[in-house]
C-alpha cells in the first residue's frame, strides 16, 4: 500500500507565489527545475480525520432527507454527508466559496461526486443543521441557489455533461445552458425522493459522447444533420487525406483531384447519400466543417443504465431523433424530458428504473403513453440493427396499429 500522508501537505498552507515559475523556468534550458511525472496528490491527505479513522469500516447509511446521508461506522462513529448541486462550469470564486463553507463547518475538507455534486461532511447534528441553514441562504444575484441540497435516493441528480459552446470545437449543441434549462424545470425532483427510482440524466454535445450518455435513464445528445463541407483550397494543406478517408465508418469519403483557381489540388468528395453525420471526418480534418445552425440539434435517448441492480447495464435508445437548438432555454427539449420523466413517475413501480419500466410495458406502450411520434428514424439500420427487430408476435395493440383489411 502506498504511504499515507496524514495531513494536507504543508506546501498548501504556503501562499501562492505568482513569481516563482518565472524564476524557475528557463526557456533556453527547458529541463532546468522541471518536475515531471509526479502524478496526482495522494488522496489520503485530503480525507477528513473521521474518514481516515473509519476507512473501510463503514457499516451502513441512511438518507435523512434529500441530500443528507448519515453514515454509521463499525467503530460507532457517524458522519453526515450533505450533497449539493453545482453548475460544474464555474469560477474560482465559486470554488473559493466552497472552501469557505468547508472551513467553517468541515475543517476544510470537501469532496465532489462523479455527477458534479459537491459534498460537505460534518460529525454532529448541530453543525449539520447550521450547515443546511447556511447553504439555503446562499444565492446568486439572479436568485438561483448556489449550492442546492439534494440529488440522493429516488431523485433526479445532477446532470453529467460535456463542454458545448463554451469550449468545444465539434459540438452540435451547447451543454451548460441546456443543463441549466433542464435542471431549472426539474428542480423539485432534485430536492425530493418521489420518483420510483433514481433517474440519471446526461448530456453530450456530439456523438463523441464525453460521458456515459449512452447508458443513462434520460439523455440528450447533440447531432448534426448536414454532410460536411469540403474546403478544397485548404484540405490538402491541413489534412492527411488517407486518414480522412479511413475515418469514415461508412466509406463515404473518396479521394479526388480538383481544380482550384486553375491549379490542381488533392481533396476529397463525400457521397452524401451514405453520410450518417457522425462528424468523425471533421475530427480528423479541419477542412471538413460539419456544424450548421439549422442542421444541428438534439436527440433524446432513454432507458439506459450503468448499475447491475436487478437488470444488467443497458444502452439508452433513441426516442426523439431530432429537436432543433432553441437557445437560451431549449423549451421543446425540456418539455419532452419533463413529460417522459412524469409519465415514468406515474406508471413505474417502486425500484423500477426508466429502462426496466419500459421493458415491462413494452416500447409500443411507452410511445403511446408519452405521445412521442414513432417515425422511421427510430428503426435501426446501422450495424447489429437486426437485434432490434421484432422477431416474435409478442406485442401489444396500442393506438399505433391500424387493422389492415385491403392492401394494394
Amino acid at each position: 500500500m502506498s504511504e499515507r500522508p496524514e495531513r494536507p501537505d504543508p506546501i498548501y498552507s504556503q501562499p501562492y507565489d505568482p513569481t516563482l515559475a518565472e524564476k524557475l523556468y528557463n526557456p533556453q534550458k527547458p529541463m532546468e527545475n522541471r518536475v515531471t511525472d509526479i502524478g496526482p496528490p495522494h488522496y489520503w491527505q485530503f480525507l477528513p480525520p473521521v474518514i481516515q479513522r473509519n476507512y473501510g469500516k463503514w457499516k451502513s447509511h441512511e438518507i435523512l432527507q434529500p441530500g443528507v446521508i448519515k453514515y454509521k461506522s463499525q467503530t460507532g462513529e457517524v458522519v453526515y454527508a450533505v450533497r449539493c448541486g453545482t453548475p460544474r462550469l464555474e469560477s474560482t470564486d465559486y470554488v473559493r466559496e466552497i472552501c469557505e463553507i468547508a472551513d467553517k463547518y468541515c475543517d476544510g475538507y470537501v469532496r465532489w461526486t462523479t455527477r458534479n455534486n459537491v459534498e460537505f461532511h460534518v460529525t454532529d447534528e448541530e453543525k449539520l443543521r447550521a450547515l443546511l441553514e447556511d447553504l439555503k441562504g446562499r444565492k446568486m444575484p439572479g436568485g438561483s441557489y448556489k449550492y442546492p441540497v439534494g440529488g440522493t435516493g429516488a431523485s433526479v441528480t445532477n446532470i453529467v455533461h460535456t463542454q458545448g459552446w463554451i469550449h468545444c470545437h465539434t459540438p452540435a449543441t451547447d451543454a451548460s445552458g441546456v443543463v441549466k434549462a433542464i435542471m431549472d424545470e426539474l428542480f423539485e425532483y432534485f430536492q425530493s425522493h418521489k420518483l420510483p427510482a433514481q433517474v440519471r440524466l446526461a448530456l453530450a454535445c456530439c456523438l463523441n459522447m464525453c460521458g456515459a450518455v449512452h447508458c443513462s435513464d434520460i439523455a440528450v445528445v447533440g447531432i448534426h444533420r448536414k454532410p460536411p463541407l469540403v474546403e478544397d483550397e485548404r484540405l490538402e494543406k491541413v489534412c492527411e487525406i488517407p486518414l480522412v478517408i479511413a475515418s469514415c465508418p461508412l466509406g463515404a469519403i473518396k479521394p479526388a483531384t480538383v481544380e482550384v483557381g486553375g491549379e490542381k489540388r488533392k481533396s476529397v468528395r463525400v457521397n452524401v447519400d451514405r453520410c450518417m453525420f457522425c462528424g468523425n471526418c471533421y475530427t480528423m480534418c479541419p477542412a471538413m466543417p460539419i456544424s450548421d445552425g439549422e442542421g444541428d440539434g438534439l436527440a433524446l435517448v432513454v432507458g439506459g443504465k450503468v448499475s447491475n441492480r436487478i437488470t444488467p447495464p443497458t444502452f439508452s435508445k433513441v426516442v426523439i431523433p431530432f429537436i432543433p437548438n432553441e437557445p437560451p432555454r431549449w423549451p421543446t427539449t425540456v418539455k419532452w424530458i419533463k413529460k417522459i420523466l412524469e409519465i415514468y413517475s406515474q406508471n413505474a413501480r417502486k425500484y423500477e428504473r426508466v429502462g426496466d419500466w419500459i421493458q415491462r410495458i413494452g416500447w409500443e406502450r411507452f410511445f403511446e403513453l408519452t405521445d412521442i411520434p414513432f417515425t422511421w428514424h427510430l428503426i435501426d439500420d446501422y450495424r447489429l440493427a437486426y437485434d432490434t427487430y421484432r422477431t416474435s408476435v409478442h406485442f401489444k395493440f396500442t393506438s399505433h396499429v391500424e387493422t389492415v383489411t385491403e392492401f394494394e
Binding site: 515559475a21 524557475l24 473501510g56 457522425c278 445552425g293 441492480r309 437560451p328
Partner: protein, 432 residues
C-alpha cells in the same frame, strides 16, 4: 488592470434566473470583481453561439508542455477581433486526487494560480475526472506546469492517444459496500503508469475506471476500456434482527431513498424476494428468517441496496475485470465485457498491472490507428483475445449465450489428420 469591454448578452442573461445554480451569474460576478476581460469575452462569444447556434471555436491546435504529449487541449476563437482576450483559450487537465476529496488549502492555492495565469473559469470536474482549467494562452503553459509541480504538487492528466486519467468511486472512504480499495488502486495505477499517461504511444485513448461494487457509481462498465468492478464470491452477510426490523417497519427500505411518496408498508416479498433476478432468496414468514441460496446469487446488489442495515457483501472480496467499453464513435457504443470473473486485488496490485501491460503490448502492436480496445477485441474475436492474446481459459461467464451459428474457425491442429489431403486419393473413393 485597464478598462474592460463588456458585451451585450441578453440570451446568456436569461440563464441567470431559475433555481438551479447559474453559471452565467457566477462567471459575470467573478468577471466584474476581478475585471477579467476573458470572462466577458467568453460570455460574448457564447452569446454569439446562442444567436446563430454554432460553435465559434476553431478546430484543434496542438499545444503542450515540454516532454508531455497530452494534458493540454489547444483552443482558438474564430472571432479573434471581437473577442481578443480569448483568441487562445486552452484547456489544462489536472489529475484529480482519487475519489475527488480535497482540502480547502489545496483548492484555494490552485484557484490563486488560475486567477493569475488563466481565465479563472474551471470545471469541477471533466467527464473523465480531471480538474479542468478552462482558458489560458500558450505563453502561460510552462509556467502553469511549473506552478503545478513546484507549488501544488499536482500533475497534468491525460489527453490524446494515451492513458486517460484513471478514476474511481468513493470506495472505502465512505461506502460500506466497496469490495476493493478503489482509491488506493487508482492511486497505485496512476503512479505506475505516468509515462503512459503523459506520452501518447497508444492507437487511441485508453480509460481505466474502478468501482467498488456492482452498483458501479463511476460507470466503469459503460465508459472505460478497462473496467474494474468490486465483487465477492462467498455469502452475503445477514443480520436477521435487522431484516426483521425492515419487515416490521422500524427501518426505512433503501436507506430512505423513497421517502417523499407513499409506497405503502415495506413488503419484503414484493420488494426484495420477487425482484431478485435469480430468485435465490426466500423469506420464511413463520420463522421470520431470510434465506439466500448464495451459490445462485449473481450479486446484483438489489437486496443489499434495499436493506443496508441488514445485508452486506461477503468477505471473500475481489473484482471482476471487464474490457472494451466505449461511446458510439464509430462502430456503435460498447459496454465492457467480462474477461476475468474474479481477481484478488491487494497492494501493490502487480497482477492488475501485469494484465494491463499484456493488453497494451498486444493492442499497441495490432490495434489500428484510432481503434479502441473494444473494437480490436471485436475485430479479432473475443475468443482469440481471451485464449490466444491473454492466455486465459474460455469460460461460460465470458458470454451471455454461446454462438447460434456453427461457423467456427477451426484450427488445423484441432482436426484429425490436418488439412493437407490428396485429391487423387479422394477421387479414387469418389469418381468425379
Amino acid at each position: 488592470m485597464g478598462e474592460v469591454k463588456k458585451h451585450e448578452t441578453p440570451l446568456m442573461d436569461d440563464l441567470k434566473s431559475g433555481p438551479w445554480p447559474s453559471f452565467v451569474d457566477d462567471i459575470y460576478n467573478y468577471a466584474e470583481k476581478k475585471k477579467k476581460q476573458a470572462c466577458f469575452d467568453i460570455m460574448g462569444q457564447m452569446e454569439l453561439s446562442y444567436k446563430n447556434r454554432e460553435t465559434h471555436w476553431k478546430h484543434g491546435g496542438i499545444v503542450g508542455v515540454f516532454g508531455y504529449g497530452g494534458g493540454v487541449i489547444g483552443r482558438y476563437s474564430d472571432q479573434q477581433e471581437m473577442f481578443p482576450s480569448i483568441w487562445a483559450f486552452h484547456t489544462v487537465r489536472v489529475n484529480q486526487p482519487a475519489a475527488k476529496w480535497y482540502h480547502s488549502s489545496a483548492l484555494r492555492k490552485l484557484c490563486d494560480m488560475w486567477d493569475h495565469r488563466g481565465s479563472g473559469i474551471v470545471n469541477f470536474h471533466g467527464s473523465t475526472g480531471d480538474i479542468i482549467l478552462l482558458g489560458t494562452v500558450t505563453e502561460q503553459l510552462e509556467y502553469i506546469f511549473y506552478d503545478l509541480g513546484h507549488q501544488l504538487k499536482m500533475d497534468l492528466g491525460g489527453s490524446g492517444s494515451n492513458l486517460r486519467t484513471p478514476e474511481c468511486c468513493m470506495g472505502m472512504s465512505r461506502c460500506e459496500w466497496s469490495c476493493i480499495d478503489t482509491q488506493d488502486i487508482i492511486y497505485e495505477l496512476t503512479m505506475a503508469f505516468q509515462d503512459e499517461l503523459h506520452r501518447p504511444a497508444f492507437p487511441y485513448k485508453f480509460k481505466i475506471k474502478v468501482s467498488g461494487c456492482p452498483n458501479d457509481c463511476v460507470a466503469a462498465i459503460a465508459r472505460s476500456d478497462f473496467s474494474v468492478i468490486g465483487t465477492w464470491r462467498d455469502k452475503i452477510k445477514i443480520d436477521q434482527d435487522a431484516v426483521r426490523a425492515y419487515v416490521g417497519g422500524e427501518l426505512k427500505p433503501n436507506a430512505g431513498a423513497h421517502s417523499d411518496r407513499d409506497w405503502g408498508p415495506f413488503d419484503i416479498k414484493k420488494e426484495v424476494i420477487d425482484l431478485c433476478p435469480t430468485k435465490c432468496m426466500f423469506w420464511d414468514e413463520g420463522q421470520k428468517k431470510l434465506y439466500i441460496n448464495d451459490a445462485e446469487c449473481n450479486r446484483c446488489m438489489h437486496c443489499i441496496n434495499v436493506m443496508p442495515e441488514a445485508l452486506w457483501p461477503g468477505d471473500d472480496r475481489g473484482a471482476v475485470i471487464l474490457m472494451g467499453a466505449k461511446a458510439p464513435i464509430l462502430d456503435g457504443a460498447q459496454l465492457s465485457t467480462v474477461i476475468i470473473p474474479f481477481m484478488k486485488l491487494e497492494p501493490p496490485y502487480d497482477n492488475l498491472k501485469n494484465l494491463l501491460y499484456k493488453v497494451w503490448d498486444y493492442w499497441m502492436e495490432h490495434g489500428k490507428n484510432r481503434e479502441r480496445l473494444g473494437e480490436t477485441i471485436q475485430r479479432i474475436g473475443l475468443n482469440r483475445f481471451i485464449v490466444d492474446v491473454l492466455g486465459l481459459k474460455p469460460l461460460p461467464q465470458h458470454v451471455k449465450e454461446p454462438r447460434s451459428n456453427p461457423y467456427i474457425f477451426w484450427k488445423e491442429e484441432e482436426v484429425e489428420g490436418g488439412w493437407t489431403r490428396d485429391v487423387a486419393e479422394f477421387r479414387k473413393r469418389h469418381p468425379a
